[in-house]
């Protein structure tokens, strides 16, 4: 039976069919649903780890113990996990170990669009790249075999399009794999220099063997067609090539790294004109050029952003002089200006809103971090100075303070989400304590990992398997005190005056302080929603101070404020209204 699945669902299914026992991850778009789906199979132990480094370490431990393990993360997560990854490449594996790197060309929801084929190559591990959901499943199964056969972690690289597109998948059965007896192998798993030197030699021999495999594996296939044009491609780009020039000869690389030099050279010599079509970097093209093959690539295809079928088609049509197969007649267009953009916004009732309103009002300098609260950077809240990577807010604030002094630090706060704080903020806070900074840190504890679709995390204590015990819940206030912060306060961000007052006090303190802004995310706190507020038209003065909250429920109607039925009555607008014109439905009327 064939089933419609996203690439992510198919990877989870492939892992299950391959007999995987352990699946770990830290959430991150577009990888999150892989582990959410893996958790639905009772045979798989699945966890949200506190961050990607721990996720990979747990996966490697499972492998060393003899089980197959799947570890999933978004592309930037691999930066966090790079330390164990680069040495896991030396140790190799016992049970198969597959690392899914979900890259995000076009940055649909990411802070950069790095191409992780570079990381896989730098770690010297093989990389597989599926082009649809069937391949996502099949390549996952193949990756586990490769991992064990070649004693190496394997990177399965997908992109947002492959991860979030649905296509039909032929399902298979699970292959149960009994655990081998545990046997200690210190020369393989204890990476002291003397042993690591031996392993490095093994890594180089392994790469040479993988290069040979690349020549013959069905993962790399030639689809012969018209030999006047030959295209080397892979991943989703393959699909665009098939749309643009269905008759051309194609060498589809399923094994992205290492490359089959003989196979590619032979293909190149058989076709008259040779192209490489790949998303983002000129990863394959660089090899072809180094081998002296006459190839065209990034001079006609974009290096930034996601490839589109029409861009690929247009570039090929222009360069080959053959008509494009895709529509060329100008599509219908709206006369005049581009339609206004619709950027994402903080939801109605979002606990982050009141906080950013206060930060803006106080004109503070805000070292920001990554999460839903990053949306506080957009108008009208527009109150974030920096966003770099997860956890960076605290270090950045310390660096600013050490550069510009304590006076500056009295106007400076770092803001970080609960999940992000656990992921990589704790060490920054330790730096503030240890190196005597007077950092004021706001932890935006909305009791969930909101940005990626409401995953639990150590601060909620509920695991991916739905278990909760009090002792599994990390108490953020106690954690901050334990690392030496004496001043820890918890404030409800809906109490804006109290928040402002607290911040004034804490900013004045000549030592690190933490303010935990604590209120459940509006999307998970269903009980909090009440009937919409309304604007008493007689009392509204049309000052529009309420509009500075950036609430999507508030708009201007004939010089007065209006509230839409999306309102969940968080009451912030009523707090900022000087005229007292915003009321609950029960009041007055």
């Amino acid at each position: 039976m064939r089933q419609l699945m996203t690439g992510n669902e198919a990877i989870a299914r492939g892992a299950w069919e391959a007999g995987v026992r352990v699946a770990t991850a830290y959430p991150g778009t577009p990888s999150t649903e892989i582990t959410e789906n893996a958790a639905r199979y009772p045979e798989i132990y699945a966890e949200w780890s506190p961050n990607e480094k721990v996720a990979l370490e747990v996966g490697l431990g499972a492998s060393i113990a003899g089980g197959r393990a799947l570890v999933a993360m978004k592309h930037v997560g691999v930066n966090v996990a790079a330390d164990p990854l680069f040495t896991a490449a030396y140790t190799g594996v016992t049970g198969g170990l597959v690392l899914v790197s979900a890259d995000d060309p076009g940055m649909h929801s990411s802070q950069n669009e790095q191409d992780n084929r570079h990381l896989g190559r730098a770690a010297k591990i093989p990389i597989l790249e599926p082009a649809d959901s069937q391949e996502a499943k099949d390549f996952t199964v193949a990756a586990f075999s490769l991992s064990e056969e070649f004693d190496t972690p394997v990177m399965l690289r997908i992109t947002t399009r492959a991860a979030h597109s649905r296509s039909l998948v032929q399902l298979g059965a699970r292959e149960e794999r009994p655990l081998p007896p545990y046997s200690k192998d210190a020369r393989k798993y204890v990476m002291i220099p003397a042993y690591a030197r031996l392993r490095h030699t093994a890594v180089e021999a392994r790469l040479a063997a993988l290069r040979e495999l690349a020549e013959t594996t069905p993962l790399n296939r030639v689809e012969w067609g018209d030999k006047s044009i030959g295209i080397v491609t892979g991943g989703v780009a393959y699909q665009y090539v098939k749309e643009a020039l269905p008759g051309a000869s194609v060498l589809k690389l399923g094994l992205s790294f290492p490359l089959p030099r003989r196979k590619i050279t032979e293909f190149a010599q058989t076709v008259a004109q040779l192209y490489v079509v790949e998303e983002l970097e000129d990863f394959w093209e660089t090899y072809l050029r180094a081998w002296g093959l006459p190839v065209r690539g990034k001079e006609i295809f974009p290096r930034t952003g996601e490839l589109q079928p029409e861009t690929v088609a247009a570039a090929l049509a222009a360069d080959t002089g053959r008509p494009s197969r895709l529509p060329t007649s100008p599509p219908p267009a709206v006369a005049g200006a581009e339609p206004p953009a619709r950027p994402p916004v903080l939801c109605p009732g979002c606990p982050h809103r009141g906080l950013f309103y206060v930060l803006r009002k106080m004109r503070l300098i805000v070292a920001g971090d990554i999460g839903c609260y990053t949306l506080g950077c957009l108008e009208p809240l527009n109150s974030i100075d920096t966003t770099i990577c997860m956890g960076a807010s605290i270090g950045a604030a310390i660096g600013m303070e050490k550069t510009r002094g304590e006076e500056f630090a009295r106007r400076l706060v770092a803001v970080i989400g609960d999940s992000t704080f656990i992921h990589s903020g704790v060490t920054g806070l330790i730096d503030a304590v240890y190196n005597n900074a007077q950092t004021t840190l706001l932890i935006l504890d909305n009791r969930t990992t909101g940005m990626t679709g409401h995953q639990d995390n150590p601060a909620t204590g509920r695991t991916l398997r739905g278990e909760w015990r009090e002792r599994q819940e990390i108490d953020l206030a106690r954690l901050c005190r334990a690392v030496g912060v004496n001043r820890v306060t918890t404030v409800d961000p809906f109490e804006m005056e109290l928040m402002e007052e607290t911040l004034r006090t804490e900013l004045a303190a000549a030592e690190p302080s933490v303010v935990i802004s604590r209120r459940k995310c509006a999307l998970i706190d269903r009980e909090a929603a009440r009937p919409p507020l309304y604007v008493d038209q007689a009392e509204c003065t049309g000052c529009f101070r309420c509009m500075r909250l950036g609430c999507p429920c508030l708009s201007r109607r004939e010089q007065k404020a209006a509230i839409s039925d999306q309102c969940v009555a968080c009451g912030l607008c009523a707090q900022v209204c000087a005229a007292g014109a915003i009321k609950t439905t029960g009041e007055a009327q």
Binding site: L4, T29, P30, H108, S109, D132, T160, R161, H164, S165, R166, S167, L168, V236, Y238, Q239, Y240, K242, E243, Q308, P309, E310, A313, L326, P327, T328, S329, P330, P331, P332, A333, V334, A335, G336, A337, P339, P340, A341, R342, P343, P344, V345, L346, C347, C372, L375, L378, E379, P380, M451, T452, G453, M547, G550, P552, L554, S555, R556
Partner: protein
């Protein structure tokens, strides 16, 4: 058969994703090859969202190029304008007659195009407007706008009412089924 393309565009939270899933289920049950592309993440927080659905004997690309959509089902008027260039000549633009102001309009940084209907018509698109919220309320749930619109789309596709209803039954929880079916039928006539 050539590949058929439909875009379902709207504002995060409007239910475009469920609509796309039901359409995909209908297509899969009819035995076609298909690809459905939807983007999660940042875009869901009230931003523009689009689900792209393609089907035929063999489908390669998961995304629809501009000028190729047989139909654009827009849950909101501004989104109809945004995705208009994806419509093929002779394609259908099906629009929910609803306006949702994006933040740049609320802050005054941009102006909402008042005359969406005229702009769409002037661009030469065959446009059908539908008051989805009103019909959904009549069906018993204001939230069922997505099913009203799916009903509207069904008028222009080859699948039978029985095929649609089968997919709707499988898609949602039992307690919404009656309202969902009613909403679909109101959109389909």
């Amino acid at each position: 058969m050539n590949v058929k393309n439909v875009l379902i565009a709207g504002v995060g939270g409007q239910g475009t994703i469920l609509a796309g899933r039901i359409l995909a289920a209908v297509i899969a049950a009819a035995g076609y090859d298909l690809k459905v592309s939807e983007i999660h993440g940042m875009a869901q927080r009230g931003g523009s969202v689009v689900t792209q659905v393609r089907w035929g004997e063999r489908v390669f690309s998961p995304i629809v190029p501009p000028g190729a959509a047989d139909a654009v089902l827009a849950f909101e008027k501004l989104e109809a304008l945004r995705w208009l260039p994806w419509l093929r000549p002779g394609g259908r633009m099906l629009v929910n007659d609803q306006r949702v102001d994006p933040m740049p309009v609320l802050t005054g940084a941009a102006v909402y195009p008042e005359n969406a209907a005229a702009l769409l018509a002037a661009a030469g698109a065959a446009v059908t407007f539908c008051d989805g919220i009103d019909l959904a309320r009549r069906a018993g749930s204001a939230k069922a706008v997505n099913l009203v619109l799916l009903g509207l789309l069904s008028r222009h596709l080859e699948f039978s009412p029985a095929e649609w209803e089968q997919a709707i039954r499988q898609a949602g929880p039992e307690k919404y089924l009656a309202a969902n079916l009613a909403a679909f039928r109101l959109g389909a006539i």
